[in-house]
């Protein structure tokens, strides 16, 4: 099991989510964050003084998934989140040892994959 953590532009969230849904990926957790990197800060003005704010709003998407789907998900996110300008964001991949579905107590892969229709 892997965790895919994508930092993207806030305004791209709708598109990314739509693209993932088309792929059948619906489980995800999303957080508002701010980030900096090589992107230039945004210019803000407060009573005649100009400030360069360099922590910019981003959105973090976390998806825990089975190993086989990792590359596919990376591809989809990359494509739908890209604008080509600096600040498009990053994707990080890390290991997840186990998962639990709180409602049922299922562990491991079962916790993050859809159960058979009947169970629902």
């Amino acid at each position: 099991m892997k965790k895919i953590e994508a930092l993207i532009r806030p305004q791209k969230l709708g598109e990314v989510k739509e693209a993932l849904n088309k792929l059948g990926i619906s489980g995800m957790t999303v957080t508002e964050v701010v980030g900096c990197g090589r992107q230039k800060g945004q210019k803000e003005i407060y009573r005649g003084i100009e400030y360069e704010i360099n922590l910019l709003p981003k959105v973090k998407i976390e998806i825990v998934t089975v190993d086989e789907k990792v590359e596919e998900i990376i591809k989809i996110i990359s494509e739908s989140a890209r604008t080509g300008a600096i600040g498009d964001g990053k994707i990080f991949i890390s290991d997840v040892l186990d998962a639990v579905r709180i409602r049922t107590g299922e562990r491991g892969t079962a916790a993050i994959t859809s159960p058979k229709e009947g169970e629902r």
């Binding site: 305004q11 945004q42 803000e44 003005i45 407060y46 400030y51 360069e52 704010i53 922590l55």
Partner: protein, 438 residues
């Protein structure tokens, strides 16, 4: 001793009822009524700014608010320079006022409706301001701020002022007469219809497909609705231009129509969606306030019950059903609320008006005078034509010199940062450095 000091300072206070220029006879009670009503109507524009501001997405709230605030600035200046005289100067062919009061000259010695001239000027100014501001509801989240500024300056001059003259300043609709107590035609039809035209010319917001375009801060919107409702008492009752029974009638009609339309909206929503929303109650109330505006001083409270009820339903249908079907992007429903509500109000005035409550008014259809309905429809028609033609011409003209919309990237990042260099809400986290003056 002290009294003497004070009387020296404040001069005229010992000579009540004597105007500065020796103009006698107006009643301080009426002056107070209209002057403070002007203050209430003023407050409606900041109220509208917040009402609208809460309904846009977080990234566009300041731009939305700025559109209303800049309307205060631009229209105030326009009004004292040429707006007042175009609207209320001596009539030229029933269409427009002449330049008798250009730059407010001669206003000092003027008496209008038994009020000092300045009182009437500022009261009317507040109407011109909010009319322009209402239009912004149709175009927020995408219109260029520079284009907006030029637009409202031209629109107030070419659409609002002639219409105000025609209806209130002694022009053709005034003489017909097409009744408009407090601005159903002048304020609401004109702004609502112009908003729709502007929305169509600008085109839709880009982001509606992947994410719903929903309010980011409803308490702000509710606050705005409260301030609007409060100010509307000055708007409608103040339009009696005197503190009398007519003003009180307009006051109670205003509240009655507002609550009936809110009720109508709530019922419609319940039947349609099985929920009653708080934004629905507020929107319904605004619909009712709009609908009763032209009628407030011409109808009975019982009539205003019906005006409100029907107004609420019509606006619900326009906003909640027709807009989706017709697929135009009137962002915050300036047309749905003010255009539709205003047209209904003008028609309703032709139905429900009665000389029994206001001998200076007219009888409507219900009181045996079918002709008044035709007068009202003439007023509606003329206002629509003027609004459509005026808005199309002005926007096409501006479009030659300036882009009407912000760039797609700016729309996507948000207009607050890209247009104004401001961020509405900052949480715990923000770091940066200031750039020294250069």
């Amino acid at each position: 001793m002290k009294k003497k000091f004070l009387s020296l300072l404040f001069g005229l206070i010992l000579l009540p009822n004597l105007s500065l220029a020796g103009e006698p006879g107006y009643n301080p009670g009426d002056v107070t009524f209209v002057l403070l009503s002007a203050a209430l109507v003023f407050l409606m524009t900041p109220g509208l700014a917040l009402f609208y501001g809460g309904m846009v997405r977080r990234k566009n709230v300041l731009n939305t608010v700025a559109m209303s605030f800049i309307a205060i600035v631009v229209v105030s200046l326009q009004w004292i320079l040429i707006g007042y005289t175009l609207s209320f100067g001596n009539d030229i062919k029933g269409i427009i006022g002449d330049f008798s009061y250009l730059g407010l000259k001669n206003v000092m010695d003027l008496t209008v409706s038994n009020l000092p001239g300045y009182v009437f000027v500022v009261f009317q100014l507040m109407f011109a301001i909010i009319t322009a501001a209402i239009i912004s509801g149709s175009v927020v989240e995408r219109m260029s701020f520079a284009a907006w500024i030029v637009f409202i300056a031209l629109w107030t001059t070419l659409v609002y002022d002639p219409l105000a003259h025609m209806v209130w300043g002694g022009g053709i609709l005034f003489n017909l007469p097409a009744l408009d107590f407090a601005g159903g035609t002048v304020v609401h039809i004109s702004s609502g219809v112009s908003g729709l035209v502007a929305a169509l010319i600008l085109g839709k917001r880009k982001e509606g497909e992947n994410a719903p375009l929903m309010p980011h801060n409803l308490p702000l919107t509710i606050l705005g609705a409260g301030l609007l409702w409060f100010g509307w008492f000055g708007f409608n009752a103040g339009s009696a231009l005197a503190a009398n029974n007519l003003a009180a009638l307009a006051f109670i009609n205003t509240n009655t129509s507002a609550v009936m339309a809110a009720l109508a909206w709530a019922l419609a929503e319940w039947l349609h969606r099985r929920k009653v929303t708080v934004l629905g109650i507020a929107t319904g109330a605004v619909a009712g306030l709009v609908a009763v505006t032209p009628a407030a001083g011409f109808v009975t409270p019982t009539s205003s019950v019906f005006i409100g009820l029907v107004g609420g339903v019509l606006v619900y249908i326009a906003v909640g059903i027709l807009k989706a079907k017709l697929n135009y992007d009137d962002s915050l429903d300036a047309f749905g609320c003010h255009g539709v509500g205003g047209i209904w109000g003008a028609i309703a005035t032709g139905i429900f008006a009665t000389k029994a409550v206001n001998p200076a008014g007219a009888d409507g259809v219900l009181y045996g005078n079918f002709g008044q309905l035709l007068n009202q429809l003439a007023g509606v028609g003329l206002a629509i034509v003027l609004a459509v033609v005026g808005t199309v011409i002005i926007l096409k003209l501006i479009g030659i010199f300036l882009p009407l919309r912000v760039k797609d990237e700016a729309e996507s990042i948000g207009l607050d940062i890209t247009v104004h260099g401001e961020d509405a809400y900052k949480d715990l986290i923000f770091t940066g450095k200031s750039v020294p003056f250069s």
